[in-house]
């Protein structure tokens, strides 16, 4: 009870308050910056746990001969090959700056097995996944952008103005407007929308989020939120 609930709560409170106070004390101002490194190192060490979870899940699938266990085998194979090749810096030539260091070389170029895997497997796979978005945007535009009410109409009307104003189509459609009405040309209209409505909306969202973050942080630092991952009452 004490070990699993009370101490974590106190660790969170003490460390959080200390870092909060350090922001105002000159000799301690760098604490926050140092935390980034500390956190990254903890996260890198903890990746052992992630690897364990990944291996366990896929080994279980293979040993139970679950549906699609062959794909679990592919996960395991590609994971282990990439890990061994990358950690061992296999096939990496020495660094130009200090050729004597046996692990000094970089493995970015497609010369090296790790670089090859990155360039010919990871990049095409992840960037194509990213590119799928263009298709989903299209299907969302057709299905979800309906003028059901005033609010939805405003959203889609603005999207319309921006989409048209950002291609040559906008110039064709409204370029004929005379100089005195040039403010109504789509490309200018999109600038006004951005400068006035978008500025106001974004500002309110940002202020709201700042307050939300402050309240969430305070709930942790004051020990009010007992369900947050920092322990506390259960």
């Amino acid at each position: 009870m004490v070990l699993t609930r009370v101490i974590p709560l106190w660790i969170a409170i003490v460390s959080g308050v200390a870092i909060l106070v350090s922001a105002f004390i000159r000799p301690m101002e760098s604490w926050g910056e140092n935390f980034t490194d500390t956190f990254n190192v903890i996260a890198a060490i903890a990746s052992v746990l992630g690897a364990g979870s990944l291996l366990k899940a896929n080994l279980a699938k293979v040993s139970r001969r679950d549906a699609g266990w062959g794909f679990a085998l592919v996960v395991l194979g590609t994971f282990l090959i990439t890990l061994v090749v990358g950690l061992g810096k296999i096939g990496v030539h020495p660094s130009h700056d200090f050729p004597q260091a046996d692990f000094g070389g970089k493995q970015e170029s497609a010369d090296t097995p790790f670089g090859w895997i990155y360039e010919f497997a990871m990049v095409p796979l992840t960037s194509t996944m990213f590119a799928l978005l263009a298709f989903y945007v299209a299907s969302a535009a057709f299905r979800a952008f309906r003028a059901k009410n005033l609010e939805a109409s405003l959203l889609l009307g603005t999207a319309f103005v921006i989409l048209l104003g950002r291609t040559f189509a906008g110039v064709v459609l409204t370029g004929w407007l005379p100089e005195w009405a040039s403010g109504l040309r789509l490309e200018n209209l999109s600038v006004y929308v951005m400068q006035v409505f978008n500025t106001a909306g974004n500002r309110a969202i940002i202020i709201g989020i700042a307050l939300g973050v402050a309240a969430t942080s305070l709930r942790i630092l004051l020990g009010v939120d007992r369900s947050c991952p920092a322990g506390g009452e259960r």
């Binding site: 009370v6 200390a18 299907s139 969302a140 979800a144 402050a214």
Partner: protein, 313 residues
């Protein structure tokens, strides 16, 4: 709950003591410097960063408001909070998943535990898991950071215990996939198509994957509830999900769902912060406008400078 032992464990008291110690230590350092032991040029500067005093005042102000409202709530004056439709729908979504015998999918964003949105997302996962344990629904939570996996397991285990269903906790349902954004998206997208969860929750920090998830969720007919503070992704969630928690609402979600008076009190504190900012903006803009219209009134200019200083200007 018995309150007596709480008083001794009151974190605020301890926080105040700690702050005192830190400031005391800082002063000691300064005395050290003054004595010439460490004759750094910074010795002439104050140990406290005065430029940040307005910031300190804002944080102390919001903190004090939080304490006051929590205290009031504990004294039996629970605040009234407006209805948030997206949160009213949480129970309904989990209930539907139970009826259909399909899992609930929960994505706590794609960032690590050093992002406060992830912390809020994992807290929400705890809430959802508790309801799911009560309804006997299963919650699947693939994650893309090892630390988030550990935190999520902690939160879900605690929720299952709190719901009196320790047996409902199955750590393997919360599993790590990969740190890579689109590797994770590929996995979750495929999983959605194959397992067809009945309810999908997206609560945390999201980037481009927001639309891939919500469009896939839509095509399998799941109820989708999203919450994020990433303003560039909000339009996609608003368009493609059934309910969306916008920015600040997302941070209020866990307190709202808890229904505990303490936590609802913190929402009131959030509101008082908002009202304070709004007042500063109105008065500040009015004073600045009056200053432009009446350039001869120098006191308006001075007042304006003072107000801007309070905002860190």
């Amino acid at each position: 709950m018995d309150r007596a032992p709480h008083r001794l464990r009151s974190p605020w008291l301890w926080a105040a003591i700690l702050a005192g110690c830190v400031i005391g230590w800082g002063r000691g350092q300064r005395a050290h410097a003054d004595a010439g032991v460490a004759a750094a040029p910074a010795a002439t500067e104050s140990i406290l960063n005065e430029h940040r005093l307005p910031l300190a005042a804002w944080i102390v102000g919001i903190g004090a408001a939080t304490m006051i409202f929590v205290w009031r709530a504990r004294r039996g004056k629970p605040p009234t909070i407006r209805r948030i439709a997206a949160l009213e729908a949480v129970d309904e979504a989990i209930g539907r998943a139970t009826e259909m015998g399909r899992p609930v999918l929960f994505i706590p964003g794609i960032q690590d535990m050093d992002n406060i949105q992830t912390v809020a997302g994992v807290t929400m996962l705890g809430r959802v898991a508790k309801t799911a344990a009560e309804y006997d629904a299963t919650v699947e939570a693939p994650v893309c950071r090892s630390l988030v996996m550990e935190a999520a397991r902690e939160a879900v285990q605690a929720s299952c215990l709190a719901a009196g269903r320790a047996d409902a906790y199955q750590p393997d349902r919360i599993h790590y996939v990969t740190d890579e954004q689109f590797g994770y998206v590929a996995h979750v997208g495929g999983k959605m198509m194959r397992e067809k969860p009945a309810a999908c929750f997206y609560m945390g920090c999201f980037f481009a994957e927001s639309l891939i998830f919500s469009e896939n969720g839509n095509s399998i007919g799941a109820i989708q509830i999203a919450g994020t503070a990433e303003s560039s992704q909000l339009p996609f969630f608003v368009a493609a999900c059934d309910y969306t928690l916008i920015g600040e609402e997302f941070f209020a979600a866990s307190a709202y769902l808890s229904g505990e008076p303490d936590q609802l009190g913190t929402l009131q504190a959030q509101d008082s912060g908002k009202v304070a900012v709004m007042m500063f903006m109105v008065i500040g803009a009015a004073v600045a406008t009056a200053g432009v219209l009446l350039p001869s009134a120098t006191w308006l200019g001075e007042l304006g400078v003072l107000l801007r200083k309070a905002m860190g200007g």
